[in-house]
């Protein structure tokens, strides 16, 4: 298969080739397994926290029984109560199964089927009380869908990352990881476009307001930042620039790592300053899709080397 665009190709043919290369070039998808394990852990944490309150928020005798739940959600959707009786234990069962699925995703047991079941379970729980859920839960559902296409580790570890003429289908194309990368960029781009229409994001006061919302704030920032309009403008415009630029710049080979580091700092900073539950951890899982597995391996070996005080990288690898 010749992936080089020939000089005689028309612009349309060249676009097609680039598009095809983007989705179908052979790729190392092992990072999907790392992402899947982190995702499984987050599913367990998210479901366990919900479990603690399931009697308060779900089913008969709770703040939102099945009849009322139908009144606050789109009529097309299915809920837990579409399959099970209107009782808190019905949602508890879905949450328990979600936690089991999280464990199976970590262990890599039937991961594609498990991801499909996770999508079904999370969707059912979310629709059973829409008043509890927000953007992070949407990311959880979408990632579950994308993991349906992520091959299991036993296939990933043996797959070649280059095309061999004898066995052209022995490896994997890039598209399963591209889904995560594009969704990650789509979230930022859409948020950036929306923000660019808001007066407070343009005049630089958006962060001033959010730091004065009683439910949104997390750990307190130092007074010289929280009480300064200049810092508010810096963070407001910085966020706007970040969300509008990173979805494009992260695809550039030279800017990929600066963008990854920036996105990591952005999410860790937001996690510190704002109370957004698991939104930032799940976005960091999405960010991992831009890190190559060999880069992660090198970083891990470097950490092991520092911890064990060994000097030879090959020795650590061995």
């Amino acid at each position: 298969m010749n992936n080089e665009s020939s000089p005689s190709a028309t612009p349309w043919q060249q676009i097609r080739q680039v598009f095809d290369l983007f989705w179908m070039s052979p790729a190392d998808l092992r990072m999907l397994d790392v992402m899947r394990r982190f995702y499984g852990e987050l599913v367990i944490v998210c479901s366990a926290i919900l479990w603690l309150d399931h009697r308060t928020f779900f089913g008969a005798g709770s703040l939102l029984p099945a009849d009322a739940a139908r009144g606050v959600v789109d009529p097309d959707v299915f809920t837990v109560y579409s399959f099970l009786p209107d009782h808190p234990l019905s949602v508890a069962l879905f949450l328990l199964l979600s936690m089991i699925c999280g464990g199976l995703l970590i262990a890599g047991i039937y991961p594609r089927i498990t991801a499909g079941i996770t999508l079904f379970l999370l969707t059912g729980v979310h629709h059973s009380n829409m008043m509890l859920f927000d953007a992070e839960d949407t990311v959880f559902r979408l990632f579950a869908f994308f993991f349906i296409f992520a091959p299991p580790w036993r296939e990933l570890k043996e797959a070649p990352t280059t095309l061999s003429p004898e066995r052209p289908h022995a490896g994997f194309p890039a598209w399963p990881i591209r889904l995560f990368q594009l969704q990650f960029c789509l979230i930022y781009l859409c948020a950036g476009i929306q923000k660019s229409n808001g007066a407070e994001w343009i005049d630089g006061t958006a962060v001033y307001y959010t730091l004065r919302l009683d439910d949104m704030t997390g750990c307190h920032l130092p007074g010289f930042i929280a009480e300064s309009l200049a810092w508010s403008k810096f963070f407001t415009w910085g966020t706007l620039a970040f969300e509008l630029l990173v979805p494009f710049l992260i695809w550039n080979r030279w800017l990929r790592w600066p963008c990854i580091v920036l996105a990591m700092l952005f999410h860790l900073g937001m996690e510190y300053a704002f109370n957004l539950h698991l939104f930032h951890p799940i976005m960091l899982v999405g960010l991992l899709s831009f890190v190559r597995y060999d880069e992660l391996q090198r970083a891990w070996k470097f950490v092991v080397m520092k911890v064990t005080k060994r000097t030879d990288l090959a020795e650590v690898a061995a």
């Binding site: 829409m130 066995r167 859409c190």
Partner: protein, 191 residues
């Protein structure tokens, strides 16, 4: 037996992943729907498309909304839900939702779902939740009382954060200053 052994020794073929036609058709349909759903709506035609694809995305659980994330305008109103409880002896008590501003960041992280619930409770679109909420509150408040509850008025208090001028500057992380009260719902006991 030997045939089986040979097959297991060979690296597997992943031809399913390389089926361009199936992938591009799936991408066009599912990816197209997800993009239509996610991108902010500026035209009426986009709105129509969103309506058409909505049932399919709802059923599959792939809906994602427009990723507003504090946009286009960040919230600049603190809202508190409260209720006046009228008892059979003519007395009146008042109940308020928990005060988030007095909680530590750890406590806030623990009650995140409860915060989301109250943040949605006052919205008109969630009016179906008011009656079960009042039922639950009546049950909780009557538990330790020998009096019967006669009625309840559910309301919201709003604290609009003023723009950051030198006269109106609001200190960060302070308690909200609720100024406006709006009635949401009147509840009476029912069988």
């Amino acid at each position: 037996m030997s045939k089986k052994k040979n097959r297991s020794l060979q690296p597997p073929n992943h031809s399913w992943y390389w089926n361009r036609t199936a992938f591009y058709i799936g991408l066009l349909i599912i990816g197209g729907m997800m993009c239509i759903d996610a991108f902010p709506q500026y035209t009426r035609l986009h709105g129509k498309f969103k309506e058409w694809i909505d049932p399919a995305l709802d059923i599959t659980g792939l809906w994602q909304g427009s990723w507003e994330l504090f946009a286009p305008e960040p919230d600049h109103v603190n809202v508190r839900v409260g209720a006046f409880l009228y008892w059979e002896d003519g007395s009146k008590t008042v109940w308020y939702q928990p005060d988030w501003s007095k909680m530590s960041s750890w406590e806030k992280a623990r009650v995140f779902r409860e915060m989301s619930y109250y943040d949605n409770l006052w919205r008109d679109g969630n009016g179906a939740a008011w009656e079960p909420f009042c039922d639950d509150l009546a049950k909780r408040e009557s538990e330790d009382s020998i009096l019967e509850l006669e009625s309840m008025i559910l309301f919201q208090d709003r604290d609009v954060i003023p723009p950051p001028t030198s006269e109106n500057w609001r200190i960060a992380y302070g308690a909200p200053d609720y100024q406006r009260r709006t009635k949401l719902y009147t509840w009476f006991p029912h069988e």
